[in-house]
Each structure stands twice: as structure tokens, then as C-alpha cells.
């Protein structure tokens, strides 16, 4: 897990924790748990929501940590400006990753599904002990905590290109083509607030 402190934001959401889990075995349970937590009432519900208060993102659709951080930056900025389009700053990350404005589509595509085996878990919150956050993440996800640098081998470029509607090859050199696709994707996420 990696932690970052965005000092331009106020304390309530200045710290960002990003963890990559591979070989995740409890995706289906996790998804059901999230759905249930959202409808539970009373103090139990609050406790349950607290326990799963992360963004869970299908890692195969993320090209790089810069890609993910661009979506995070947009989400925290929207939070700070009181301009969230979804209910929480965590769900806002999923919305920012999806090129369209459809929230349920964003969650379906980028959120955790029964077939997910690689998962990125993000927590945005107050400055605190990173070790505690890491423990909370590991308590929810059964899988191998991996360095985020492993992301490079996980990305499913064909699906990324499909969702971002990058239909034709942009560069003849395959390595450069990937670079260009990456740049289009990162730029598209960053300019999400601009209606194209």
C-alpha cells in the first residue's frame, strides 16, 4: 500500500491510500457485502459502512497509478468544491474513471464484480497511521497485497480501448501505441469536467 498527502486539500480528505490486491478470492462476497452495507440501518449499518468505506476498483481497467491518481484528484477536488455527482468521494472515483456520465454503468464497469481477481482499494481521509488503514483493507479483501508497480502487467488494454472508444491504431509501433493510448486515457480522465 502507498499513502500520499495532498497538502492543498483540507485535513478531512487530504490523505490518499492506494493498495493493489492480486489473486483476490472473495470478490463475490465483497460485492454482496457492499450492496448490503448500503441498505443496513441503525448503528450496525454505520459500523458496516465504516468497515467497507473504500473505493474498490477493478485493476484490469487501470493503466497506471497516474491514471488512478488523476481520477482521485478530480474526486477530491469535486468534494472540496461541493460538486460531487455521486454520493461519496469514493464512488466519485469510479464515476471519474468512466468516460460517460452514467453512474450505474461506471460502477458496473469499474467496480468490483464476481469475476474480479485484481483489485485496487483506495481510501481518502484524514491524516492517520497508514498501517491501520492497511489492516482495515486486508480485513475486507482476501488476496495478496502487491506493490502498485505490478499494475503494468495486469492492465487489459483491449477493454480500456473499447471503453474509451479508441478504435484505430494510433501508432505503428506497438510500444508507442500503448503510450499514446495511456496518454489519451489519462487526459480524458483529467478533463472529465469538460463536456467533449
Amino acid at each position: 500500500m502507498e499513502s500520499f498527502h495532498y497538502s492543498q486539500f483540507s485535513q478531512e480528505y487530504s490523505n490518499v491510500h492506494i493498495a493493489l490486491f492480486t489473486n483476490v478470492t472473495n470478490a463475490t462476497e465483497l460485492r454482496n457485502r457492499l450492496v448490503q452495507a448500503s441498505t443496513m440501518s441503525g448503528p450496525e449499518g454505520d459500523a458496516e459502512r465504516q468497515a467497507v468505506d473504500f473505493a474498490f476498483i477493478d485493476a484490469t481497467l487501470i493503466c497506471s497509478t497516474l491514471h488512478l491518481k488523476s481520477a482521485i484528484l478530480n474526486s477530491v477536488l469535486a468534494q472540496a468544491q461541493g460538486a460531487l455527482r455521486t454520493k461519496t468521494v469514493h464512488s466519485e472515483i469510479l464515476w471519474n474513471l468512466n468516460p460517460t456520465n452514467n453512474i450505474s454503468e461506471a460502477i458496473r464497469r469499474y467496480g468490483v464484480s464476481s469475476s474480479t481477481t485484481s483489485l485496487l482499494v483506495v481510501r481518502i481521509g484524514r491524516p492517520g497511521d497508514p498501517a491501520t488503514v492497511q489492516m482495515q483493507m486486508s480485513a475486507v479483501v482476501s488476496g495478496d497485497l502487491s506493490p502498485t508497480s505490478r499494475l503494468a502487467g495486469i492492465t487489459d488494454w483491449a477493454r480500456v480501448k473499447k471503453y474509451y472508444k479508441i478504435l484505430q491504431q494510433i501508432d505503428a509501433d506497438p510500444q508507442k501505441d500503448i503510450q499514446r493510448v495511456h496518454e489519451i486515457v489519462v487526459s480524458s480522465v483529467s478533463m472529465k469536467s469538460v463536456i467533449v
Binding site: 499513502s3 500520499f4 492543498q8 497506471s64 497509478t65 494510433i170 487526459s187 478533463m191 469536467s193 469538460v194
Partner: protein, 277 residues
């Protein structure tokens, strides 16, 4: 006023960045968007994501009505971002977008490590004296002692190669029906090779005046503006610009004939079409 305590996140971001250049429409800063990790404790090798970014800040204009100012700023930032996005999809070399804040009038883009073509052709770097006037404590210009050496050292490229890159890049952009609107040698940068076996890349910058158009006229005028810019900033520029057009022709293919013919017309009458009648 202390900018740290009573301002928005984006303003705090700018207040920590370094002013690079200041114009009438916007100020340019060099800053960082993503901080290096605080956990695990950084091992010393630089985090790839904390590369610098260029922040273009279209500040509030006191002379305009606030409502008009807000809507103009918004549409200009959005327009610039859109043009860059279209260029990226068309495979034109442009800096990638890193953050857009329409409310604050901020556009953050990838920092290009390189020099402007204007500088590399010996036209001098633009606007340095102005920066020193406005902000005396900003970075001392680094160029002064390098000026005596060959500016193209380290780029592994000849002047003529640069011209060909320019022609190709503009043709790719026009093919996607994007008109730059302000083609000058200052608005093109050469990015040095990322590895010894790679080559330098020409990057088009400043899409503040860009728009989309399918008209041959607009493309021809775009080229004409560049021709005039060459003539006014670089001595003996005719063979240089001829080389730009040759590369443009190669890339543009069948579209070239119409644009070439129109460029000849534009040369005779100037950039503006006759408004009589």
C-alpha cells in the same frame, strides 16, 4: 492576505508553484500535482507520477464584469482542453492533460522537457526579460551560458529534420480538422530523445486559440501565419519553410493540392479575407 489559509485547493496549488511566464491572458507556472508517497518512506528514486506539470492559470480579469469573466474563462479553458484531447486522439504530439478546474480557470498539462523551436533556431528564448521584471526572484534564466554552444546538441537532429517534423505534425493536426490559430516557432517544442536509440519529438503547444474547421481557407491561413512567423523571427527562413511545406505535402497527400493553391491566394491578399461587399 495569506494564500495558504483563505483560499481554494487550486489556488493553494498555484501558490506553491513557480511562475514561469506572465501574459495578459494567463500566467504559466511549473508545479507538482501528485506528491511523492509518505508511506512507505520514499527510497530515493523519484516517483514517476510526481513529474512536474505546467499550470496555465487564466486569472480573474478586473476589467470585465464578473459574470462575463467567469463564462469566458470557463469556455476558453474548456476549449483548449478539448482541442488538446482531439489532437491526442488524432496522434498529434501535444502535451497530455493532467487537471482541469473550470471554476478557477486552471488547466494543468504535461511538462515538456525541452526547448522551443524558436530558441533552437537561434531566435532567442521568448519573454525572459518580462518574467524578470514582474517577478524579480524567479529562477535566473539558465539559457545564458548555453547560448554559445550548439543549441541542437543532445537532440541528435539537424535543422532540416526539425522542419520536417513540423510539417508532418501540422499536417496530422489539419487532417483531424483542428486549426491551431497561433502557429509560431515559440509554440513548438522539441523533446529530446528519451533513450539513446530514440529520436527527438516535436510537440505542438498552446492551443488557446485553436478551433475546429474543415475549411481549406482556415488551414491555409494557419500555414501562412507560420510562414510570417518564420520570416519575422528567423533570418534566411525561406529554405526552412519550404522544407516544412514539403513534409506537410507528404503527410497531407491528396488534400495538399487545394491547400497549396489557397496558400498562394492568401500570400497575395494576407490573412484577412476582403471584407468589401
Amino acid at each position: 492576505m495569506n494564500p495558504e489559509s483563505s483560499s481554494t485547493p487550486t489556488q493553494r496549488l498555484i501558490s506553491r508553484a513557480t511562475l514561469v511566464s506572465q501574459g495578459a491572458e494567463a500566467a504559466i507556472y511549473k508545479g507538482e500535482l501528485h506528491p511523492p508517497p509518505i508511506y512507505p518512506v520514499p527510497s530515493g528514486n523519484r516517483d514517476h507520477d510526481s513529474e512536474p506539470v505546467l499550470i496555465k492559470y487564466r486569472f480573474h480579469k478586473q476589467y470585465r464584469h464578473p459574470t462575463l469573466d467567469a463564462s469566458l474563462t470557463k469556455s476558453r479553458v474548456a476549449g483548449e482542453a478539448r482541442a488538446i484531447g482531439r489532437c491526442l486522439r488524432a496522434g498529434v504530439n501535444v502535451p497530455g492533460i493532467r487537471m482541469v478546474d473550470l471554476q478557477e480557470g486552471v488547466l494543468a498539462i504535461e511538462w515538456i522537457n525541452g526547448k522551443s523551436v524558436r530558441f533552437l533556431l537561434g531566435g532567442g528564448a521568448e519573454g525572459e526579460e518580462e518574467v524578470d521584471e514582474v517577478h524579480g526572484d524567479v529562477v535566473e534564466s539558465e539559457e545564458t551560458d548555453e547560448a554559445e554552444e550548439d543549441p541542437l546538441k543532445g537532440y541528435n537532429i539537424t535543422q532540416d529534420d526539425i522542419m520536417q517534423l513540423i510539417g508532418t505534425e501540422i499536417a496530422k493536426m489539419h487532417e483531424a480538422d483542428i486549426i491551431h490559430g497561433d502557429l509560431t516557432t515559440s509554440n513548438m517544442m522539441l523533446r529530446p530523445p528519451s533513450a539513446p536509440d530514440k529520436s527527438s519529438e516535436l510537440v505542438l503547444i498552446d492551443f488557446g486559440l485553436a478551433y475546429t474547421s474543415t475549411l481549406v481557407e482556415d488551414k491555409a491561413v494557419d500555414l501562412y501565419v507560420l510562414e510570417r512567423a518564420f520570416a519575422s523571427t528567423h533570418p534566411a527562413s525561406e529554405p526552412l519553410f519550404a522544407s516544412v511545406l514539403k513534409a506537410y505535402e507528404r503527410q497531407a497527400g491528396k488534400d495538399w493540392k487545394a491547400i497549396s493553391r489557397r496558400l498562394d491566394d492568401v500570400r497575395l491578399r494576407g490573412r484577412k479575407r476582403s471584407m468589401v461587399g
